[in-house]
């Protein structure tokens, strides 16, 4: 699949933003490690809003005909994309209200605030699920057509959120041991989940050039794809990644999404280093950006079978 930056940003940033919001709600609801201070809450919610907004704006940048974007909410009965849009939009009023509430009252842990936070958090989590399902329902792309996709999206959204939250805590100069612990646990979960995913998609299955053409008992090779140069189909779906190159990029992804953030967070909490905390946050966003790029590039749409791919 063509890895458009706009689509990468959509799930990467909004997922992180929703994850962050959900964690803010959980932390304040359960008063974990004393809950977040009003400043920390404000910072976290603002960060969440920024992340979600980056995601949303880039999603519209991906549209070829954005003037019809408003119609995207109409088919919520069948389309996960429509549902995602609706929930993503629904997140805003609650997140904003919580922001305003906290700003005005300075009591992020008051009941009204917590209700607002919890609603925003839950809506965010639902949105992440919808985002995962956008991909997971596609039978045309076996690398996506698995429950691991929404599960991964959860892990990654929450890991970004937790890293951001830990960073907020550290930057505001407060002890962050528990938060760092949560973040590292979630990052470790990402590492494991992603490993399971990569193991899963490495096993060939599904349609082949033979089932695609119906010549099930013979070798089938492409002679000519019927057009010398690219078409929408080859440009959108034709991308591939050589196996060894993919391996290198995956290592890089693990390095930035897992190893650097864990070390940086550990360092940050040990030495109360704001710089390290920020490095952790930037690194995980970058690393999971690489992961999202891989997610697209490694997705092999079955239409490629018609362009000569033996299997996807």
């Amino acid at each position: 699949m063509h890895a458009a930056l706009a689509v990468i940003f959509l799930t990467l940033f909004s997922g992180g933003g929703f994850g962050l919001m959900a964690l803010v709600a959980i932390v304040n609801d359960l008063h974990i490690d004393g809950g977040l201070s009003p400043i920390q809450t404000l910072a976290a919610v603002i960060l969440s809003l920024i992340f979600v907004t980056i995601g949303m704006l880039s999603s519209t940048a991906h549209l070829a005909n954005p003037k019809n974007a408003w119609r995207a909410f109409t088919r919520w009965r069948t389309s996960w994309l429509a549902r995602e849009g609706i929930f993503a939009v629904a997140y805003y009023p609650f997140a904003f209200a919580y922001l305003v509430w906290t700003f005005v009252t300075g009591a992020p842990d008051a009941t009204v605030g917590l209700i607002l936070a919890s609603l925003a958090g839950v809506i965010g989590l639902i949105t992440i699920f919808c985002q995962g399902m956008i991909y997971a329902v596609l039978r045309t792309i076996r690398q996506w057509n698995t429950a691991l996709v929404p599960a991964n999206f959860y892990a990654m959204g929450l890991a970004i959120g937790a890293t951001l939250l830990a960073a907020v805590r550290i930057v505001t100069g407060e002890s962050a041991g528990v938060f760092v612990g949560i973040a590292i646990a979630l990052i470790a979960a990402v590492a494991v989940m992603k490993a399971i995913y990569y193991f899963w998609i490495a096993r060939p299955s599904g349609p082949t050039i033979r089932t695609a053409t119906g010549f099930n008992r013979f070798t089938v090779r492409i002679l000519d794809q019927g057009h010398t140069f690219g078409t929408f189909l080859t440009e959108e779906f034709g991308h591939t990644l050589a196996r060894d190159k993919a391996r290198g990029i995956k290592l890089m992804m693990y390095f930035f999404a897992v190893i650097v953030p864990i070390i940086a967070l550990a360092f940050a909490v040990a030495y109360q280093s704001a710089v390290a905390a920020v490095i952790a946050a930037v690194s995980i966003v970058f690393g999971l950006g690489v992961e999202r790029w891989l997610f697209f590039v490694e997705a092999q749409h079955v239409v490629n079978l018609y362009h000569g791919r033996q299997r996807c």
Binding site: N65, N68, R75, V137, T211, V220, T231, E236, V302
Partner: protein, 230 residues
Amino acid sequence: MRLGLVIDLDTCVGCHACAVACKEWNTSGTTAPLTDYNPYGAKPSGVWFNRIRHYEIGEYPYNKTVNFPMSCMHCENAECVTVCPTGASHKRPEDGIVLVDQSKCMGCNYCSWACPYGARELDRVSGTMKKCTLCIDRIYDMEIPEEERQPACVLTCPAHARMFGDFDDPESPVSRAVRERGGYQLMPELNYDPSNHYLPPRVHAPIPTEGLKKKAGAKVKEWVNRVVER
């Protein structure tokens, strides 16, 4: 009604007539125009609803070339419609034709991701998704002579490798062809239940030759003349 096409792989010579006729009709059709990019430049490209691929089956010298036209299959389980967030993509209940309402499409490409058959192509200038309409603006237009109320690709196919009709009618030519010739759907394992079917190449029975062989080779001088009146 369940309208669709039957493609005869036994007779398709791969001439691209259907593809160009489709382009020609539809560039002034309901989703017109079908934009071409760099039409005279380094890498020409454009929007087409019907593309012909060419495959080689088996290995030399027991190989066969198969020409393989593909356009929208107008699937019964049209996931492209299910996933469309705007409602631009729709499947007409009355005849099963899958269409994209150009006034509603926002160009998110999602439907094309859901389509296993490469039937949908984004027009990068209009920003909308376009696809085969089964020439809905031909088949129902009463001002077009009745025998020409067919998709442009079917109308033009010189090898008569394309048939158009109603798969819900068991006695329609398309239903009969599928039944008699072992017509099949592409990638049935995905369960899209495409309406379009493909007829496999026919297998020709051997022609008997043993009885014609003379035991000893002929020699000119041995032939006995026959009397035939000139």
